[in-house]
């Protein structure tokens, strides 16, 4: 677990996807360890999501059902990502191979696991806010839209990471002596503590500069200002990102309920009806019209 946390930390800091590291032809992360951690992060977010179901049923003698929904959500959020990946991964690899991308299947898997690591880390970090709103909000449409917004933000950051890392892969495979990032160009050089400050008595060398990230390592989302990626590969990944988003959204709809409407029975799955986008549109309309069809029990407190 500690190793997996270390891997995720290196992914988030951009160390695992630094161009110099990628020259080895792969992303240096433990897929198995990271995958286990991703399941855990998804479960944490699921628990935060399911807090709404517990809160809504607390005073009505149905707390057990609320906790059941919370358990379902803790299982289903990781499932959402695993199934979405399972649906989209084969076509991604096949189309990449067709347009001449040189990434091996194992590398594509590592890349996607790392991207999901970014997505789920962001998602789980917003879990505290989701749980807080779940505990004190009676509006079901609001909670749906808040969760959709959080998923959208996390998804956008994760997919941005994916595209930037792919770009870095292309750069890493191009023989270039120097690679600069936009962040590195914008940022001032790191302060040379040793030059500007007198040495402490008894120190033969200047004190080391405290820096968690090695100098010159761009952030995980920094764009490398070098061309190199093929337009076809870029297009395939861009399309894949859109497809991943669409499939993920619809997968979320299929796997619902996650939040658990207070007046609906607790169940692992609901019957097939409508689509994700229709549902989001309906919730926006509900919120604007003041309709809160799913009301909290009056005995809740």
């Amino acid at each position: 677990m500690i190793k997996a946390l270390g891997s995720l930390d290196r992914v988030l800091k951009g160390q695992a996807t630094d161009v110099r590291t990628l020259r080895a032809g792969t992303i240096d992360v433990s897929v198995r360890g990271l995958a286990g951690l991703l399941v855990l992060l998804g479960a944490i977010y699921g628990i935060c999501m399911g807090t709404f179901a517990v809160a809504m049923r607390w005073g009505a003698g149905e707390a057990r059902l609320g906790f059941l929904q919370m358990g379902y959500s803790a299982v289903k959020v990781p499932m959402l990502f695993v199934f979405t990946l399972a649906v989209t991964l084969p076509s991604l690899y096949v189309f990449n191979a067709l347009v001449g991308c040189r990434l091996l299947f194992s590398v594509v898997v590592r890349l996607l696991v790392a991207a999901l690591g970014v997505t789920l880390a962001v998602l789980a970090s917003f879990g505290t806010i989701i749980a807080f709103f779940s505990l004190c909000t009676t509006s079901y449409p609001f909670m749906v839209l808040l969760n959709v917004a959080t998923f959208a933000l996390a998804g956008l950051l994760g997919m941005n990471f994916l595209l930037q890392t792919l770009h870095r892969f292309a750069v890493a495979q191009t023989p270039m002596p120097e690679v600069a990032s936009s962040a590195a160009e914008n940022a001032a050089p790191p302060p040379q503590v040793g030059e500007s400050q007198p040495l402490a008595p008894g120190l033969a060398t200047p004190p080391p500069i405290r820096q968690a990230t090695p100098p010159g390592v761009p952030g995980a989302l920094d764009r490398i200002t070098t061309t190199g990626i093929g337009p076809q590969v870029r297009m395939v990944f861009a399309i894949w990102v859109i497809v991943f988003g669409l499939v993920g959204s619809q997968m979320g709809w299929i796997l619902r309920p996650f939040i658990g409407a207070p007046d609906a029975p607790v169940s692992f799955f609901r019957s097939r009806e409508g689509s994700f986008f229709q549902a989001v549109f309906d919730k926006v309309e509900d919120l604007a019209n003041g309709n809160n069809p799913h009301t909290r029990s009056t005995n809740w407190r």
Binding site: D9, L12, K13, G14, V118, A121, V122, S125, F126, G127, T128, I129, F132, F133, C136, T137, T138, S139, F142, L157, F161, A183, N186, A187, A188, P190, P191, R210, Q211, A212, T213, V217, P218, G219, A220, L221, D222, L287, A288, N289, G290, N291, N292, P293, T295, R296, W300, R301
Partner: protein, 241 residues
């Protein structure tokens, strides 16, 4: 040479830290001596003392009514809760975003700046409490008292923003990305704090209503209510819910 008692030395150190904070001398400089881990107890002390002080004054609006004195204690508990819990809820997502944006190496300074902002907000709020007390003595309208407290919070927030920007200046100079992250922090923190304030009300305490720690209808959503009011004001009505 005079030897101050331990308690006096502690108070003296606390006041010295507050002075440093307000003057900006303790924001970024001297980090070696003031790690966030060491600053956290100080922040908690400042939150409890100064936030509690403003909360107590804030809750004193109906003190002359029988049984309403307890609102002072509720206020003294709830203002530190409002600020502290909002901060704790907002921090994890913000730190992950900092890491993703490639400025994790500045985490210590960022945390230091945020703690300075939080402490500054509380101190400024406490310094405004005499105005609030004066207002309560002068006017008896509950709605206007609410508005006055809103203005005091707005002033304290603006001052805290100023402290935060000052603390962030070296960070922005080092990496312009901090400027965007600063805005993101303001959005996340405000989003949570507004709802927290809604949940924790009443702070002032209507003299015509019984004293309660939480209002019976408190569990709701500030943003849904704002939408309801906005739609009502524009003549679109709101079905309730």
């Amino acid at each position: 040479m005079t030897h101050l008692p331990a308690q006096s030395r502690t108070v003296s150190r606390l006041l010295g830290s507050i002075d440093d904070l307000l003057r900006g001398t303790g924001s970024i400089s001297g980090l070696e001596d003031r790690s966030p881990a060491r600053q956290l107890p100080l922040l908690v002390i400042i939150l409890v003392i100064f936030g509690g002080a403003y909360g107590a004054v804030m809750g004193g609006f109906g003190v002359l009514e029988p049984g309403h004195a307890v609102q002072i204690i509720f206020g003294a508990i709830k203002v530190p809760m409002l600020l502290g819990v909002s901060f704790c809820l907002s921090l994890p997502s913000f730190m992950v975003l900092n890491t993703l944006m490639g400025v994790r190496s500045d985490a210590r300074e960022v945390l230091h700046a945020l703690l300075s902002m939080q402490a500054g907000l509380t101190i400024v709020l406490a310094s405004l409490s005499p105005f609030t007390a004066l207002w309560y003595v002068s006017f008896s309208d509950y709605s206007v008292a609410l508005l006055f407290n809103g203005v005091m919070f707005a002033i304290a927030t603006l001052a805290a923003q100023w402290i935060l920007r000052r603390a962030y200046r070296p960070l922005v100079a080092r990496n312009p990305r901090h400027r965007s992250l600063l805005r993101i922090w303001v959005v996340i923190y405000s989003f949570v704090a507004i709802q927290m304030a809604w949940v924790l009300r009443p702070f002032v305490g209507d003299p015509a209503s019984p004293v309660t720690f939480f209002r019976r209808e408190a569990w709701g959503n500030a943003y849904v209510e704002i939408l309801r009011i906005a739609l009502h004001a524009t003549g679109h009505g709101y079905g309730g819910g």
